[in-house]
Symmetry: C2
Subunit: 411 residues, 2 copies
């Protein structure tokens, strides 16, 4: 007998019909003899409806009250799902975050889980119940309802899996797992059986929106076996786990990309100590997040300073640089909001040289100009013109044979 | 400084605009220096929406889950009302029934309040907050969310008033108080300044739907001064309280009536011991509630047995009597579903004879035939044909000068 956490998002419980389908799926697992805790989000659209009501009252809704308000969304779902399960003759109990006692800090609207009481859930599972828990919410030590922020239901599921020592945490979504890259860009993209936490984190942070980053971090930290799979399809999905001997021995596991990039450059800055903070200070003060940074020192002892920002922040970042350009003694400001970032991700890179050069050679072979490069232990990212996005992804997918299941060459 | 409980029902908080108006009203009282606890219902329509969702899943929704579901209705309102108050610069905190710890028994969907913790509310009031509490809901000793049944928000308000030793519990509704009778039937109906708990209970049970009967009982039991007044109008409404020297010295305080009556008669039943239970037993088994009962013994030692039921139960009651008619040796079954009940209510009746005869004489003077009579210490009810309802009410209103403020003739 295994203990599983099943998590279903807002779309998967978005209608009464779908709630009934989720009940069927959960009951099927229960009938195989496993213990099941189900974590659910608010029905899709409900959170937005509640946010809309709040904004009719307060431009900046009170954070505490907002949590009281929003937490009703999942509470509706847990009651309806438990009813649907009971209606099939299987006993079920439902829990709000507060009633489990998912204790969080008191940072309303983005609280962090500190502790989960497991007694009641173990007791209810022992009695043969399917336990249904509201995602996204908890309760502070002082008894206030808190929420974990959007997407927090993934985090609830993983945290429950860790606290209950579940055998696996299954995140059911509208995709059937993690692919080598986005199949809408590269039809030959291949579903991965397994991926490591680190790779998943890189994929997620680079815009592959399968899982919440916090949930992956949490799963990694507490060694929770995490599986992403389709809510209503068949298939085993993708297991996110630690590197082990069964892992595919790929050099590159996947290709992530991010369309929302823009870059700004301040040219001809006199190269003196402190210049970077003089430039980046005002950007940080404006709450603009910076991703890649490059500084080129030219022969005339001036530097060109380039960084990327989210495309929504492009105009503000550009204006800030123009403001400080003269006082820094810089030559001029240029920018480009038609760029994208494409990244190879894979733990295999750690032990293999030559990946970067294969990457650059393949792109050059297609006439794709690389504007910026950044690397980490398990990732190489390049910035290219937006128009090359699809070509770059497909070229790299081919170059690293990602449509092929890698041969297990244990070293 | 006084402590008031304000209670607003679903219609009074049915839109964002109305929630803002409620906030204004509450803040006005707070600015006068009083401490305010506000009890609110779900926004009108919300409970029905949630019930609809549940019925799409289960024909007989699980009672526990139904309470988890329905309690979200008031939770939305408390958050929105607190926001609206905070938005005007006044501090406010909101409480679900579970968070106050309004402890109830575990009879889901019609739980009874057993105990209310007051520490947190006193603390928050002491800090200058307007405290907003979800009506209609509580929590069982085992931590399950419970609800008090429809209209339970009145009960929450009164119970909080008792627990907090509030100076007054103000129930804001869509009427501006308790009238001598329904103004739609008798335009000369007069708003009462005061009425006793006992009179209010009789008025409520006879179909004057201003307050929940349980709330009035509770208020009487714990001596909570209860005031009914209009949500958005001015005026002092009606104070429901114990009889005291300031009370109007009326013989009759009001005229209540109930349109939903029907009567059935089983004629010529041999008058033997146990006959009443042989007739009423099957009716009770069918969950049909009986109101008035009359048994006439005729000279031939058979009895005619008549009772009234809710009009919705008329056909079922009639069929049951027809079924048992033969075995009882009775003659036949007759019935009438075009009847109504009209009642005089007043604590003054206790000490005054002659009220019944004035009542019967006035009705007879208008040619209104009395079909049944029943009396209690502070009430006289008659059953008349439905077509006479308005005439009977107006005739009695005139006969007892109810449009006139009674003279205080202290005896």
């Amino acid at each position: 007998m295994a203990l599983y956490i099943f998590k279903f998002g807002g779309t998967s419980v978005g209608t009464i019909e779908r709630i009934k389908q989720v009940a069927d799926k959960v009951i099927e697992a229960h009938r195989r003899g496993d213990q099941i805790v189900v974590v659910v989000s608010a029905m899709s659209g409900e959170t937005n409806r509640l946010v809309g009501l709040a904004h009719e009252i307060q431009k900046q809704p009170d954070a505490r009250q907002m949590d009281v308000l929003l937490s009703t969304g999942e509470q509706v779902t847990i009651a309806l799902l438990s009813m649907a399960i009971i209606n099939q003759g299987v006993p079920s109990v439902s829990y709000t975050g507060a009633r489990v006692r998912i204790v969080t800090d008191d940072t309303h609207s983005k609280a962090r889980i500190e502790k989960i009481d497991t007694d009641r859930i173990y007791h209810d599972l022992g009695q043969g119940n399917i336990v249904v828990v509201a995602g996204f919410q908890g309760v502070s030590a002082s008894g206030q309802i808190t929420t974990l922020g959007r997407g927090g239901s993934d985090t609830t599921a993983v945290a429950l899996a860790a606290a209950l020592k579940a055998d696996e945490c299954r995140i059911f979504t509208d995709v059937d797992g993690v692919y080598t890259t986005d199949p809408r860009v590269e039809p030959k993209a291949r579903l991965l059986d397994r991926i490591t936490f680190e790779e998943m984190l890189e994929m997620a942070s680079l815009g592959s929106k399968v899982l919440q980053i916090r949930a992956v971090e949490f799963a990694g930290k507490y060694n929770v076996a995490l599986r992403v799979l389709s809510s209503f399809g068949e298939g085993q999905g993708t297991l996110i786990t630690y590197e082990d001997t069964q892992m595919e021995k790929a050099l590159v596991s996947g290709i992530a990309f991010n369309r929302d990039e823009a870059k700004v450059t301040i040219e001809g800055v006199p190269d003196k100590p402190g210049i970077a903070s003089n430039i980046l200070g005002p950007i940080a003060d404006a709450n603009i997040e910076i991703d890649m940074i490059i500084q080129n020192v030219a022969e005339d002892v001036t530097a060109d300073f380039t960084f990327t920002v989210h495309r929504n922040d492009y105009r503000r970042a550009y204006a800030i640089l123009e403001n400080i350009c003269e006082s820094l003694g810089a030559r001029k400001v240029t920018g480009d909001e038609q760029i994208v970032k494409v990244s190879l991700v894979g733990v295999g890179m750690r032990s293999h040289a030559g990946i970067a050069s294969t990457m650059f050679r393949s792109l050059a072979g297609e006439g794709i100009n690389i504007r910026m490069i950044s690397t980490s232990e398990i990732k190489i990212s390049v910035v290219v013109d937006e128009k090359y996005l699809e070509l770059a992804v497909r070229t790299l997918h081919d170059a690293f044979d990602l449509d092929q299941v890698p041969v297990n060459t244990v070293e």
